[in-house]
Protein backbone atom coordinates (compact mmCIF):
# COMPACT_ATOMS: atom_id res chain seq x y z
CA UNK A 1 0.00 0.00 0.00
CA UNK A 2 2.84 2.36 0.92
CA UNK A 3 4.59 1.57 -2.33
CA UNK A 4 1.43 2.25 -4.32
CA UNK A 5 0.89 5.53 -2.44
CA UNK A 6 4.45 6.68 -3.13
CA UNK A 7 4.19 5.79 -6.83
CA UNK A 8 0.83 7.53 -7.09
CA UNK A 9 2.22 10.72 -5.55
CA UNK A 10 5.39 10.65 -7.64
CA UNK A 11 3.73 9.81 -10.94
CA UNK A 12 1.05 12.44 -10.48
CA UNK A 13 3.07 14.96 -8.53
CA UNK A 14 1.38 17.90 -10.28
CA UNK A 15 -1.97 16.73 -8.94
CA UNK A 16 -0.72 16.83 -5.34
CA UNK A 17 1.60 19.81 -5.60
CA UNK A 18 -1.06 22.30 -4.48
CA UNK A 19 -1.90 20.31 -1.33
CA UNK A 20 1.77 19.91 -0.45
CA UNK A 21 2.43 23.61 -0.99
CA UNK A 22 -0.60 24.58 1.11
CA UNK A 23 0.62 22.32 3.92
CA UNK A 24 4.09 23.83 3.61
CA UNK A 25 2.60 27.33 3.76
CA UNK A 26 0.60 26.54 6.91
CA UNK A 27 3.74 25.14 8.56
CA UNK A 28 5.76 28.17 7.51
CA UNK A 29 3.18 30.67 8.73
CA UNK A 30 2.39 28.96 12.03
CA UNK A 31 6.04 28.50 12.97
CA UNK A 32 7.34 31.84 11.70
CA UNK A 33 4.49 34.07 12.88
CA UNK A 34 4.43 32.58 16.37
CA UNK A 35 8.22 32.59 16.67
CA UNK A 36 8.13 36.22 15.54
CA UNK A 37 5.57 37.03 18.22
CA UNK A 38 7.75 35.38 20.85
CA UNK A 39 10.81 37.18 19.53
CA UNK A 40 9.12 40.56 20.04
CA UNK A 41 8.13 39.58 23.56
CA UNK A 42 11.71 38.53 24.18
CA UNK A 43 12.95 41.79 22.63
CA UNK A 44 10.74 43.79 24.97
CA UNK A 45 12.55 42.15 27.89
CA UNK A 46 16.00 43.08 26.60
CA UNK A 47 16.08 46.56 28.21
CA UNK A 48 15.54 44.77 31.53
CA UNK A 49 18.79 42.85 31.07
CA UNK A 50 20.54 46.03 32.26
CA UNK A 51 18.80 46.01 35.61
CA UNK A 52 18.45 42.38 36.67
CA UNK A 53 14.72 42.76 37.17
CA UNK A 54 11.43 42.42 35.36
CA UNK A 55 9.46 45.38 36.71
CA UNK A 56 10.57 48.97 37.20
CA UNK A 57 8.68 51.25 39.55
CA UNK A 58 8.93 55.04 39.55
CA UNK A 59 6.79 57.90 40.70
CA UNK A 60 5.97 61.13 38.89
CA UNK A 61 7.20 64.27 40.61
CA UNK A 62 6.92 68.01 40.19
CA UNK A 63 9.24 70.36 38.34
CA UNK A 64 11.24 72.64 40.65
CA UNK A 65 11.14 76.39 40.13
CA UNK A 66 14.86 76.73 40.78
CA UNK A 67 16.85 74.28 38.74
CA UNK A 68 20.12 74.24 40.60
CA UNK A 69 22.02 72.08 43.07
CA UNK A 70 20.86 68.52 43.78
CA UNK A 71 17.47 67.52 42.38
CA UNK A 72 15.61 64.29 41.86
CA UNK A 73 16.18 63.42 38.20
CA UNK A 74 13.35 64.01 35.83
CA UNK A 75 11.48 65.28 38.87
CA UNK A 76 10.90 61.71 39.98
CA UNK A 77 9.14 61.67 43.33
CA UNK A 78 10.53 59.74 46.31
CA UNK A 79 9.30 56.25 47.09
CA UNK A 80 9.05 55.37 50.77
CA UNK A 81 10.66 52.25 52.33
CA UNK A 82 7.26 51.28 53.70
CA UNK A 83 5.93 50.82 50.13
CA UNK A 84 9.02 48.80 49.16
CA UNK A 85 8.63 46.65 52.24
CA UNK A 86 5.01 45.85 51.34
CA UNK A 87 6.01 44.95 47.77
CA UNK A 88 8.73 42.61 49.04
CA UNK A 89 6.05 40.57 50.80
CA UNK A 90 4.29 39.67 47.52
CA UNK A 91 4.75 35.93 46.92
CA UNK A 92 5.86 36.20 43.30
CA UNK A 93 8.44 38.88 44.00
CA UNK A 94 11.86 37.21 44.12
CA UNK A 95 14.04 40.22 44.69
CA UNK A 96 13.97 44.00 45.01
CA UNK A 97 16.78 46.45 44.19
CA UNK A 98 16.65 50.19 44.67
CA UNK A 99 18.48 53.23 43.39
CA UNK A 100 18.35 56.98 43.68
CA UNK A 101 18.76 58.96 40.49
CA UNK A 102 19.86 62.56 40.96
CA UNK A 103 20.58 65.50 38.73
CA UNK A 104 23.31 67.69 40.07
CA UNK A 105 23.48 71.18 38.58
CA UNK A 106 26.94 72.26 39.71
CA UNK A 107 28.57 75.49 38.73
CA UNK A 108 31.16 73.70 36.54
CA UNK A 109 28.70 71.43 34.71
CA UNK A 110 25.69 69.16 34.95
CA UNK A 111 26.13 65.62 36.33
CA UNK A 112 23.84 62.60 36.42
CA UNK A 113 24.43 60.82 39.71
CA UNK A 114 23.08 57.42 40.67
CA UNK A 115 23.04 56.14 44.22
CA UNK A 116 23.54 52.38 44.16
CA UNK A 117 23.39 49.65 46.79
CA UNK A 118 26.31 47.53 45.54
CA UNK A 119 25.14 44.45 47.41
CA UNK A 120 21.70 44.20 45.77
CA UNK A 121 21.13 42.58 42.37
CA UNK A 122 21.08 45.86 40.43
CA UNK A 123 24.30 46.91 42.14
CA UNK A 124 25.90 43.55 41.33
CA UNK A 125 24.84 43.88 37.69
CA UNK A 126 26.42 47.34 37.54
CA UNK A 127 29.55 46.06 39.28
CA UNK A 128 29.89 43.47 36.52
CA UNK A 129 30.36 46.38 34.11
CA UNK A 130 33.37 47.66 36.01
CA UNK A 131 36.17 47.93 33.45
CA UNK A 132 38.87 49.38 35.68
CA UNK A 133 39.38 49.92 39.43
CA UNK A 134 37.15 48.72 42.25
CA UNK A 135 33.63 49.39 43.41
CA UNK A 136 33.27 52.14 46.06
CA UNK A 137 33.93 50.90 49.62
CA UNK A 138 33.30 54.19 51.41
CA UNK A 139 30.76 56.95 50.97
CA UNK A 140 33.51 59.22 49.63
CA UNK A 141 34.32 56.98 46.68
CA UNK A 142 32.62 56.96 43.26
CA UNK A 143 32.68 55.17 39.93
CA UNK A 144 32.58 57.20 36.73
CA UNK A 145 31.14 56.18 33.40
CA UNK A 146 34.04 55.71 31.00
CA UNK A 147 32.82 58.00 28.18
CA UNK A 148 32.04 60.71 30.72
CA UNK A 149 35.50 60.25 32.24
CA UNK A 150 37.21 60.55 28.85
CA UNK A 151 35.15 63.63 27.98
CA UNK A 152 36.13 65.31 31.25
CA UNK A 153 39.71 63.95 31.45
CA UNK A 154 39.02 62.12 34.72
CA UNK A 155 41.39 59.49 36.08
CA UNK A 156 41.27 56.91 38.86
CA UNK A 157 42.51 58.39 42.12
CA UNK A 158 41.54 61.92 41.19
CA UNK A 159 38.95 63.89 43.10
CA UNK A 160 35.62 64.96 41.65
CA UNK A 161 33.34 67.65 43.07
CA UNK A 162 29.65 66.81 43.44
CA UNK A 163 27.39 69.44 45.03
CA UNK A 164 30.31 70.92 46.89
CA UNK A 165 31.63 67.60 48.23
CA UNK A 166 34.87 65.93 47.13
CA UNK A 167 34.76 62.28 46.06
CA UNK A 168 37.60 59.99 44.98
CA UNK A 169 37.26 58.19 41.65
CA UNK A 170 38.00 54.51 42.33
CA UNK A 171 37.02 53.00 39.00
CA UNK A 172 35.42 53.27 35.57
CA UNK A 173 32.24 51.63 34.55
CA UNK A 174 31.51 50.77 30.91
CA UNK A 175 27.92 51.18 29.84
CA UNK A 176 26.50 51.42 26.35
CA UNK A 177 25.09 54.84 27.12
CA UNK A 178 21.59 53.88 26.04
CA UNK A 179 20.75 51.69 28.99
CA UNK A 180 17.88 52.00 31.39
CA UNK A 181 18.93 54.38 34.18
CA UNK A 182 22.18 55.42 32.53
CA UNK A 183 24.29 57.77 34.63
CA UNK A 184 27.62 59.64 34.71
CA UNK A 185 28.64 59.04 38.31
CA UNK A 186 27.82 56.11 40.58
CA UNK A 187 28.13 56.39 44.35
CA UNK A 188 26.87 54.58 47.43
CA UNK A 189 23.12 54.78 47.88
CA UNK A 190 23.46 56.02 51.48
CA UNK A 191 25.59 58.95 50.37
CA UNK A 192 23.20 59.81 47.53
CA UNK A 193 20.27 59.70 49.96
CA UNK A 194 22.12 61.99 52.36
CA UNK A 195 22.92 64.37 49.47
CA UNK A 196 19.25 64.46 48.44
CA UNK A 197 18.09 64.88 52.03
CA UNK A 198 20.38 67.87 52.51
CA UNK A 199 19.33 69.56 49.24
CA UNK A 200 17.13 72.55 49.98
CA UNK A 201 15.92 72.85 46.39
CA UNK A 202 14.94 69.18 46.34
CA UNK A 203 13.17 69.28 49.68
CA UNK A 204 11.12 72.27 48.51
CA UNK A 205 9.72 70.25 45.64
CA UNK A 206 9.25 66.85 47.29
CA UNK A 207 9.50 65.84 50.93
CA UNK A 208 12.49 63.49 50.90
CA UNK A 209 13.28 61.12 53.76
CA UNK A 210 16.79 59.75 54.37
CA UNK A 211 15.79 56.23 53.34
CA UNK A 212 13.77 57.20 50.23
CA UNK A 213 14.70 56.11 46.70
CA UNK A 214 13.18 57.02 43.34
CA UNK A 215 13.70 53.85 41.32
CA UNK A 216 12.70 50.36 42.41
CA UNK A 217 13.71 47.30 40.37
CA UNK A 218 11.50 44.31 41.09
CA UNK A 219 12.31 40.80 39.96
CA UNK A 220 9.14 38.73 39.61
CA UNK A 221 8.94 35.26 38.13
CA UNK A 222 7.78 35.47 34.48
CA UNK A 223 4.73 33.23 34.53
CA UNK A 224 3.29 35.12 37.51
CA UNK A 225 4.58 38.53 36.60
CA UNK A 226 1.16 39.83 35.58
CA UNK A 227 -0.32 38.88 38.95
CA UNK A 228 2.64 40.41 40.76
CA UNK A 229 2.30 43.63 38.73
CA UNK A 230 -1.37 43.86 39.67
CA UNK A 231 -0.52 43.55 43.36
CA UNK A 232 2.24 46.14 43.04
CA UNK A 233 -0.22 48.52 41.40
CA UNK A 234 -2.67 47.95 44.25
CA UNK A 235 0.01 48.75 46.81
CA UNK A 236 1.00 51.83 44.82
CA UNK A 237 -2.54 53.19 44.61
CA UNK A 238 -3.21 52.49 48.28
CA UNK A 239 -0.02 54.35 49.33
CA UNK A 240 -1.21 56.82 51.96
CA UNK A 241 1.30 59.44 50.88
CA UNK A 242 -0.62 59.76 47.58
CA UNK A 243 -3.27 61.73 49.41
CA UNK A 244 -0.82 64.35 50.70
CA UNK A 245 0.61 67.45 49.06
CA UNK A 246 4.17 68.45 48.21
CA UNK A 247 5.86 71.18 50.32
CA UNK A 248 4.75 73.65 47.61
CA UNK A 249 1.18 72.38 47.85
CA UNK A 250 1.29 70.48 44.56
CA UNK A 251 -0.36 67.11 43.99
CA UNK A 252 1.86 64.10 44.59
CA UNK A 253 2.39 62.17 41.37
CA UNK A 254 1.19 58.71 40.50
CA UNK A 255 3.35 55.64 40.29
CA UNK A 256 4.62 54.34 36.96
CA UNK A 257 5.05 50.57 36.72
CA UNK A 258 7.10 49.44 33.71
CA UNK A 259 7.00 45.81 32.62
CA UNK A 260 8.28 44.19 29.39
CA UNK A 261 4.77 44.72 28.00
CA UNK A 262 5.33 48.48 28.40
CA UNK A 263 8.16 48.16 25.88
CA UNK A 264 6.22 46.13 23.33
CA UNK A 265 4.56 49.29 22.04
CA UNK A 266 7.96 50.98 21.87
CA UNK A 267 9.37 48.39 19.47
CA UNK A 268 9.75 49.37 15.88
CA UNK A 269 10.78 46.83 13.29
CA UNK A 270 9.94 45.86 9.74
CA UNK A 271 7.97 42.75 10.69
CA UNK A 272 6.42 43.88 13.96
CA UNK A 273 3.13 42.11 14.41
CA UNK A 274 0.81 41.84 17.37
CA UNK A 275 -0.19 38.64 19.18
CA UNK A 276 -3.85 39.01 18.24
CA UNK A 277 -2.97 39.54 14.59
CA UNK A 278 -0.76 36.45 14.68
CA UNK A 279 -3.65 34.37 15.94
CA UNK A 280 -6.06 35.82 13.40
CA UNK A 281 -3.62 35.26 10.53
CA UNK A 282 -2.80 31.72 11.75
CA UNK A 283 -6.50 30.88 12.04
CA UNK A 284 -7.39 32.34 8.63
CA UNK A 285 -4.47 30.51 7.00
CA UNK A 286 -5.32 27.21 8.71
CA UNK A 287 -9.01 27.39 7.78
CA UNK A 288 -8.18 28.56 4.26
CA UNK A 289 -5.61 25.80 3.89
CA UNK A 290 -8.08 23.20 5.15
CA UNK A 291 -10.63 24.36 2.55
CA UNK A 292 -8.09 24.40 -0.29
CA UNK A 293 -6.68 21.01 0.72
CA UNK A 294 -10.17 19.52 1.06
CA UNK A 295 -11.21 20.91 -2.33
CA UNK A 296 -8.02 19.64 -3.95
CA UNK A 297 -8.40 16.20 -2.38
CA UNK A 298 -12.01 15.90 -3.50
CA UNK A 299 -11.01 17.05 -6.99
CA UNK A 300 -8.24 14.45 -7.10
CA UNK A 301 -10.65 11.76 -5.95
CA UNK A 302 -13.05 12.72 -8.72
CA UNK A 303 -10.14 12.42 -11.17
CA UNK A 304 -9.40 8.94 -9.82
CA UNK A 305 -12.97 7.66 -9.56
CA UNK A 306 -12.33 4.95 -12.09
CA UNK A 307 -9.18 3.78 -10.32
CA UNK A 308 -10.96 3.50 -7.01
CA UNK A 309 -13.69 1.58 -8.84
CA UNK A 310 -11.02 -0.80 -10.18
CA UNK A 311 -9.53 -1.19 -6.72
CA UNK A 312 -12.92 -2.03 -5.27
CA UNK A 313 -13.67 -4.48 -8.07
CA UNK A 314 -10.44 -6.42 -7.40
CA UNK A 315 -11.21 -6.66 -3.70
CA UNK A 316 -10.25 -3.47 -1.84
CA UNK A 317 -12.61 -2.99 1.12
CA UNK A 318 -13.63 0.43 2.48
CA UNK A 319 -10.92 0.17 5.14
CA UNK A 320 -8.32 -0.75 2.50
CA UNK A 321 -9.25 2.32 0.45
CA UNK A 322 -9.23 4.47 3.61
CA UNK A 323 -5.78 3.14 4.46
CA UNK A 324 -4.52 3.89 0.95
CA UNK A 325 -5.92 7.45 0.97
CA UNK A 326 -4.69 7.90 4.55
CA UNK A 327 -1.14 6.88 3.59
CA UNK A 328 -1.19 9.19 0.56
CA UNK A 329 -2.42 12.07 2.74
CA UNK A 330 0.12 11.37 5.46
CA UNK A 331 2.97 11.39 2.93
CA UNK A 332 1.69 14.74 1.60
CA UNK A 333 1.53 16.05 5.17
CA UNK A 334 5.10 14.86 5.86
CA UNK A 335 6.52 16.29 2.63
CA UNK A 336 4.61 19.58 3.05
CA UNK A 337 5.70 19.78 6.68
CA UNK A 338 9.35 19.14 5.75
CA UNK A 339 9.19 21.87 3.10
CA UNK A 340 7.48 24.23 5.54
CA UNK A 341 10.04 23.45 8.24
CA UNK A 342 12.97 24.16 5.92
CA UNK A 343 11.32 27.42 4.78
CA UNK A 344 10.61 28.37 8.41
CA UNK A 345 14.21 27.71 9.46
CA UNK A 346 15.41 29.82 6.51
CA UNK A 347 12.99 32.62 7.34
CA UNK A 348 13.98 32.55 11.01
CA UNK A 349 17.70 32.70 10.18
CA UNK A 350 16.98 35.67 7.89
CA UNK A 351 14.82 37.41 10.51
CA UNK A 352 17.50 36.85 13.16
CA UNK A 353 19.68 39.21 11.12
CA UNK A 354 17.13 42.02 11.27
CA UNK A 355 17.22 44.50 14.12
CA UNK A 356 14.59 45.91 16.43
CA UNK A 357 14.72 49.37 17.94
CA UNK A 358 13.22 49.95 21.36
CA UNK A 359 12.56 53.49 22.50
CA UNK A 360 13.30 53.71 26.22
CA UNK A 361 10.84 56.01 28.02
CA UNK A 362 12.65 59.22 28.85
CA UNK A 363 11.87 58.83 32.56
CA UNK A 364 13.87 55.60 32.66
CA UNK A 365 17.05 57.24 31.44
CA UNK A 366 16.46 60.93 31.90
CA UNK A 367 18.64 63.79 30.69
CA UNK A 368 17.60 67.45 30.84
CA UNK A 369 16.41 68.50 27.40
CA UNK A 370 17.30 72.10 28.00
CA UNK A 371 21.00 71.25 28.31
CA UNK A 372 21.16 69.70 24.86
CA UNK A 373 21.66 71.57 21.60
CA UNK A 374 19.32 69.05 20.00
CA UNK A 375 16.58 68.00 22.47
CA UNK A 376 16.04 64.75 20.51
CA UNK A 377 19.43 63.57 21.77
CA UNK A 378 17.76 62.97 25.13
CA UNK A 379 15.66 60.21 23.57
CA UNK A 380 17.27 56.85 24.27
CA UNK A 381 16.83 54.09 21.74
CA UNK A 382 18.19 50.57 22.11
CA UNK A 383 18.84 48.51 18.99
CA UNK A 384 19.06 44.74 19.22
CA UNK A 385 19.18 41.87 16.77
CA UNK A 386 15.76 40.21 16.73
CA UNK A 387 16.02 37.36 19.29
CA UNK A 388 14.08 34.89 17.15
CA UNK A 389 14.61 31.13 17.25
CA UNK A 390 12.92 27.99 15.97
CA UNK A 391 10.58 27.01 18.79
CA UNK A 392 9.93 23.23 19.11
CA UNK A 393 6.48 24.02 20.50
CA UNK A 394 5.44 25.77 17.27
CA UNK A 395 7.02 23.04 15.15
CA UNK A 396 4.85 20.54 17.00
CA UNK A 397 1.77 22.80 16.86
CA UNK A 398 2.10 23.32 13.12
CA UNK A 399 2.48 19.56 12.62
CA UNK A 400 -0.66 18.91 14.67
CA UNK A 401 -2.60 21.55 12.72
CA UNK A 402 -1.67 20.11 9.33
CA UNK A 403 -2.25 16.59 10.63
CA UNK A 404 -5.80 17.61 11.58
CA UNK A 405 -6.25 19.21 8.13
CA UNK A 406 -4.91 15.97 6.61
CA UNK A 407 -7.27 13.83 8.68
CA UNK A 408 -10.28 15.95 7.73
CA UNK A 409 -9.49 15.88 4.01
CA UNK A 410 -8.62 12.19 4.18
CA UNK A 411 -11.92 11.48 5.92
CA UNK A 412 -13.87 13.52 3.35
CA UNK A 413 -12.03 11.77 0.55
CA UNK A 414 -12.63 8.24 1.75
CA UNK A 415 -16.24 9.06 2.55
CA UNK A 416 -16.70 10.09 -1.09
CA UNK A 417 -14.84 7.04 -2.41
CA UNK A 418 -16.68 4.56 -0.25
CA UNK A 419 -19.96 5.79 -1.65
CA UNK A 420 -18.84 4.68 -5.11
CA UNK A 421 -20.37 1.50 -6.46
CA UNK A 422 -17.71 -0.24 -8.57
CA UNK A 423 -20.17 -1.40 -11.24
CA UNK A 424 -21.63 2.10 -11.59
CA UNK A 425 -18.17 3.59 -12.03
CA UNK A 426 -17.29 0.94 -14.63
CA UNK A 427 -20.62 1.38 -16.37
CA UNK A 428 -20.66 5.19 -16.62
CA UNK A 429 -17.00 6.25 -16.69
Amino acid sequence: MLHYAIKELLKRSKLYLLSVMVIGLVTLMVITLNSLGDAYKEASRLPFNDIQGTIIMQRNGNVPEDISGVLLSCSLAPIRQEVISRISKIDDVRDISTALSLWVFDADHFKRVLGVNWSDNFGKKLASKLIEGTIPKTNQEVLVEKTYAQKNALEIGRKIDIAGQQFTIVGFIGTAGNEVVASDIYLNLREAQEMAYQSKNLQEVEAFDKTDVNIVFIDAAYPNMVAATQQIKQIATSDESNAGKTPLGQTIGNYNIYTPESFEDQISAVFHISDKLIWIISLVISVGAALIAARNTLHNILERRREFGIMKSVGFRSRDISREVGIETFIQVLVGFAIGLILSATAIVALAHTSVSIAIPWELSPYPHFLLANPNEANVVQTHLLPIKLEPLYVLSSFLIILVIGLITSFLGTWQINRLKPMEVMRYE
Binding site: E307, I310, M311, S313, G315, F316, R317, S318, M423, M426
Partner: protein, 222 residues
Protein backbone atom coordinates in the same frame (compact mmCIF):
# COMPACT_ATOMS: atom_id res chain seq x y z
CA UNK B 1 -17.08 -31.76 -12.65
CA UNK B 2 -18.59 -30.11 -9.59
CA UNK B 3 -21.06 -27.27 -9.43
CA UNK B 4 -19.21 -24.02 -8.70
CA UNK B 5 -21.89 -21.37 -9.29
CA UNK B 6 -25.57 -21.74 -8.57
CA UNK B 7 -27.98 -18.97 -9.55
CA UNK B 8 -31.56 -19.23 -8.36
CA UNK B 9 -34.47 -16.96 -9.37
CA UNK B 10 -32.19 -13.95 -9.68
CA UNK B 11 -33.73 -10.55 -10.46
CA UNK B 12 -32.37 -7.02 -10.71
CA UNK B 13 -34.15 -3.77 -11.50
CA UNK B 14 -32.34 -0.63 -12.64
CA UNK B 15 -34.63 2.39 -12.60
CA UNK B 16 -37.96 1.07 -13.92
CA UNK B 17 -36.42 -1.65 -16.01
CA UNK B 18 -36.20 -5.22 -14.79
CA UNK B 19 -32.79 -5.91 -16.26
CA UNK B 20 -32.50 -9.47 -14.91
CA UNK B 21 -35.76 -11.28 -14.55
CA UNK B 22 -36.02 -14.47 -12.53
CA UNK B 23 -32.91 -16.15 -13.89
CA UNK B 24 -31.73 -19.57 -12.65
CA UNK B 25 -28.78 -21.67 -13.83
CA UNK B 26 -25.68 -23.50 -12.57
CA UNK B 27 -22.06 -23.41 -13.72
CA UNK B 28 -19.80 -26.39 -13.41
CA UNK B 29 -16.16 -26.11 -12.41
CA UNK B 30 -13.89 -25.87 -15.48
CA UNK B 31 -16.70 -24.67 -17.76
CA UNK B 32 -16.13 -22.01 -20.41
CA UNK B 33 -19.50 -20.28 -20.51
CA UNK B 34 -20.40 -17.57 -23.02
CA UNK B 35 -23.26 -15.19 -22.27
CA UNK B 36 -24.76 -13.66 -25.39
CA UNK B 37 -27.66 -11.39 -26.17
CA UNK B 38 -28.54 -8.10 -27.81
CA UNK B 39 -27.62 -4.76 -26.28
CA UNK B 40 -29.63 -4.05 -23.14
CA UNK B 41 -30.46 -7.71 -22.62
CA UNK B 42 -28.78 -7.67 -19.18
CA UNK B 43 -25.51 -9.52 -19.97
CA UNK B 44 -23.17 -7.09 -18.18
CA UNK B 45 -25.57 -6.71 -15.25
CA UNK B 46 -25.74 -10.49 -14.88
CA UNK B 47 -21.94 -10.67 -14.92
CA UNK B 48 -21.76 -7.89 -12.30
CA UNK B 49 -24.22 -9.74 -10.09
CA UNK B 50 -22.34 -13.04 -10.41
CA UNK B 51 -19.02 -11.33 -9.64
CA UNK B 52 -20.45 -9.61 -6.58
CA UNK B 53 -19.93 -6.16 -8.09
CA UNK B 54 -23.63 -5.46 -7.88
CA UNK B 55 -26.32 -6.55 -5.44
CA UNK B 56 -29.36 -8.48 -6.55
CA UNK B 57 -32.90 -7.42 -5.66
CA UNK B 58 -34.20 -10.98 -5.47
CA UNK B 59 -32.91 -14.53 -5.68
CA UNK B 60 -29.63 -16.08 -4.68
CA UNK B 61 -26.11 -16.59 -6.04
CA UNK B 62 -24.03 -19.34 -4.54
CA UNK B 63 -20.33 -19.45 -5.44
CA UNK B 64 -18.69 -22.45 -3.89
CA UNK B 65 -20.37 -22.51 -0.49
CA UNK B 66 -20.79 -18.77 -0.17
CA UNK B 67 -24.09 -16.94 -0.64
CA UNK B 68 -23.37 -13.57 -2.25
CA UNK B 69 -26.74 -11.85 -1.93
CA UNK B 70 -26.60 -11.67 1.87
CA UNK B 71 -23.09 -10.21 2.00
CA UNK B 72 -22.25 -6.61 2.89
CA UNK B 73 -20.17 -4.43 0.52
CA UNK B 74 -16.98 -5.16 2.46
CA UNK B 75 -17.70 -8.89 2.65
CA UNK B 76 -18.29 -8.87 -1.09
CA UNK B 77 -15.00 -7.03 -1.67
CA UNK B 78 -13.11 -9.60 0.37
CA UNK B 79 -14.93 -12.40 -1.42
CA UNK B 80 -14.01 -10.93 -4.83
CA UNK B 81 -10.39 -10.62 -3.75
CA UNK B 82 -10.11 -14.31 -2.88
CA UNK B 83 -12.56 -16.01 -5.23
CA UNK B 84 -13.31 -13.91 -8.29
CA UNK B 85 -11.34 -12.66 -11.26
CA UNK B 86 -12.77 -9.98 -13.53
CA UNK B 87 -11.62 -8.88 -16.98
CA UNK B 88 -13.15 -5.66 -18.28
CA UNK B 89 -13.67 -4.57 -21.87
CA UNK B 90 -11.62 -1.41 -21.25
CA UNK B 91 -8.76 -3.22 -19.43
CA UNK B 92 -9.06 -0.96 -16.38
CA UNK B 93 -5.43 -0.82 -15.33
CA UNK B 94 -3.96 1.66 -12.86
CA UNK B 95 -1.90 4.10 -14.97
CA UNK B 96 0.66 4.81 -12.23
CA UNK B 97 1.56 1.15 -11.72
CA UNK B 98 3.70 -0.95 -14.06
CA UNK B 99 2.72 -4.33 -15.47
CA UNK B 100 3.96 -6.33 -12.50
CA UNK B 101 2.33 -4.01 -9.96
CA UNK B 102 -0.97 -3.92 -11.86
CA UNK B 103 -1.05 -7.71 -11.89
CA UNK B 104 -0.33 -7.74 -8.15
CA UNK B 105 -3.00 -5.11 -7.35
CA UNK B 106 -5.49 -7.52 -5.67
CA UNK B 107 -2.67 -8.57 -3.30
CA UNK B 108 -1.89 -5.02 -2.12
CA UNK B 109 -4.36 -5.08 0.80
CA UNK B 110 -3.10 -8.54 1.83
CA UNK B 111 -0.39 -9.01 4.44
CA UNK B 112 2.09 -10.46 2.00
CA UNK B 113 5.66 -9.26 1.73
CA UNK B 114 6.42 -7.34 -1.43
CA UNK B 115 8.91 -9.90 -2.72
CA UNK B 116 6.40 -12.78 -2.55
CA UNK B 117 3.70 -10.56 -4.00
CA UNK B 118 5.79 -9.65 -7.03
CA UNK B 119 6.93 -13.23 -7.45
CA UNK B 120 3.30 -14.34 -7.75
CA UNK B 121 2.64 -11.49 -10.18
CA UNK B 122 5.71 -12.54 -12.22
CA UNK B 123 4.34 -16.08 -12.45
CA UNK B 124 0.93 -14.83 -13.60
CA UNK B 125 2.66 -12.57 -16.15
CA UNK B 126 4.54 -15.59 -17.45
CA UNK B 127 1.25 -17.52 -17.80
CA UNK B 128 -0.15 -14.82 -20.09
CA UNK B 129 3.09 -14.30 -22.02
CA UNK B 130 4.07 -10.91 -20.63
CA UNK B 131 7.45 -11.73 -19.11
CA UNK B 132 9.21 -9.18 -21.31
CA UNK B 133 6.98 -6.24 -20.40
CA UNK B 134 7.03 -6.31 -16.61
CA UNK B 135 8.39 -2.78 -16.08
CA UNK B 136 6.18 -1.12 -18.65
CA UNK B 137 3.34 1.18 -17.71
CA UNK B 138 -0.12 0.82 -19.29
CA UNK B 139 0.46 3.73 -21.69
CA UNK B 140 3.55 1.90 -22.98
CA UNK B 141 1.60 -1.27 -23.80
CA UNK B 142 -0.58 -2.18 -26.79
CA UNK B 143 -4.29 -2.90 -26.28
CA UNK B 144 -3.65 -6.66 -26.46
CA UNK B 145 -0.85 -6.42 -23.92
CA UNK B 146 -3.00 -4.35 -21.57
CA UNK B 147 -5.73 -6.97 -21.76
CA UNK B 148 -3.16 -9.68 -21.00
CA UNK B 149 -2.19 -7.69 -17.90
CA UNK B 150 -5.87 -7.59 -16.93
CA UNK B 151 -6.15 -11.38 -17.45
CA UNK B 152 -3.01 -11.96 -15.35
CA UNK B 153 -4.44 -9.69 -12.63
CA UNK B 154 -7.64 -11.78 -12.62
CA UNK B 155 -5.53 -14.93 -12.20
CA UNK B 156 -3.30 -13.73 -9.36
CA UNK B 157 -5.53 -14.98 -6.55
CA UNK B 158 -6.25 -18.31 -8.22
CA UNK B 159 -9.97 -17.50 -8.32
CA UNK B 160 -12.81 -19.99 -8.51
CA UNK B 161 -14.28 -18.17 -11.52
CA UNK B 162 -13.07 -15.50 -13.92
CA UNK B 163 -15.71 -13.21 -15.38
CA UNK B 164 -14.84 -11.42 -18.61
CA UNK B 165 -17.04 -8.64 -19.98
CA UNK B 166 -16.47 -8.29 -23.73
CA UNK B 167 -12.71 -8.83 -23.30
CA UNK B 168 -12.09 -8.39 -27.03
CA UNK B 169 -14.43 -5.41 -27.45
CA UNK B 170 -11.62 -2.86 -27.55
CA UNK B 171 -9.18 -4.95 -29.58
CA UNK B 172 -8.70 -5.57 -33.27
CA UNK B 173 -9.89 -9.01 -34.42
CA UNK B 174 -6.42 -10.57 -34.59
CA UNK B 175 -5.47 -9.41 -31.08
CA UNK B 176 -8.92 -10.38 -29.83
CA UNK B 177 -8.45 -13.90 -31.14
CA UNK B 178 -5.14 -14.18 -29.30
CA UNK B 179 -6.79 -13.12 -26.04
CA UNK B 180 -9.56 -15.70 -26.50
CA UNK B 181 -6.91 -18.31 -27.27
CA UNK B 182 -5.19 -17.35 -24.04
CA UNK B 183 -8.39 -17.74 -22.03
CA UNK B 184 -9.04 -21.15 -23.61
CA UNK B 185 -5.48 -22.18 -22.90
CA UNK B 186 -5.93 -21.26 -19.23
CA UNK B 187 -9.25 -23.10 -19.23
CA UNK B 188 -7.85 -26.30 -20.66
CA UNK B 189 -4.42 -26.31 -19.03
CA UNK B 190 -5.37 -25.05 -15.59
CA UNK B 191 -9.03 -26.03 -15.48
CA UNK B 192 -9.95 -22.37 -14.84
CA UNK B 193 -13.69 -21.62 -15.00
CA UNK B 194 -14.62 -18.71 -17.30
CA UNK B 195 -17.86 -16.80 -17.76
CA UNK B 196 -17.57 -14.52 -20.74
CA UNK B 197 -19.94 -11.93 -22.16
CA UNK B 198 -19.54 -11.49 -25.90
CA UNK B 199 -21.34 -10.23 -28.98
CA UNK B 200 -19.06 -12.24 -31.19
CA UNK B 201 -20.63 -15.52 -32.40
CA UNK B 202 -17.22 -16.91 -33.36
CA UNK B 203 -16.01 -16.51 -29.78
CA UNK B 204 -19.24 -17.92 -28.38
CA UNK B 205 -19.07 -20.98 -30.60
CA UNK B 206 -15.66 -21.90 -29.15
CA UNK B 207 -17.21 -21.98 -25.64
CA UNK B 208 -18.36 -25.16 -23.97
CA UNK B 209 -21.74 -23.61 -23.22
CA UNK B 210 -23.75 -20.59 -24.36
CA UNK B 211 -26.49 -18.76 -22.44
CA UNK B 212 -28.53 -16.37 -24.54
CA UNK B 213 -30.30 -13.56 -22.69
CA UNK B 214 -33.18 -11.54 -24.05
CA UNK B 215 -34.86 -8.86 -21.90
CA UNK B 216 -33.19 -10.22 -18.80
CA UNK B 217 -34.41 -13.79 -19.27
CA UNK B 218 -32.61 -16.90 -20.44
CA UNK B 219 -33.90 -17.80 -23.84
CA UNK B 220 -31.31 -20.36 -24.68
CA UNK B 221 -28.90 -22.46 -22.62
CA UNK B 222 -26.84 -25.02 -24.53
Amino acid sequence: MSKIVSVNQLSKTLGNIRVIDNVSFDIESGEFLAVQGPSGSGKTTLLGLLAGLEKADEGSILIGDEELTSMTEDQLALFRRHNIGFVFQTFNLIPTLNTLENIALPLYPERINRKDMLERARKAAYDVGLSERLDHYPNELSGGEQQRVAVARSLINEPKVIFADEPTGNLDSKTGEKIIELLHKLNTEKGQTFVLVTHDDKIAKKSSRIIRLIDGRIKHDK
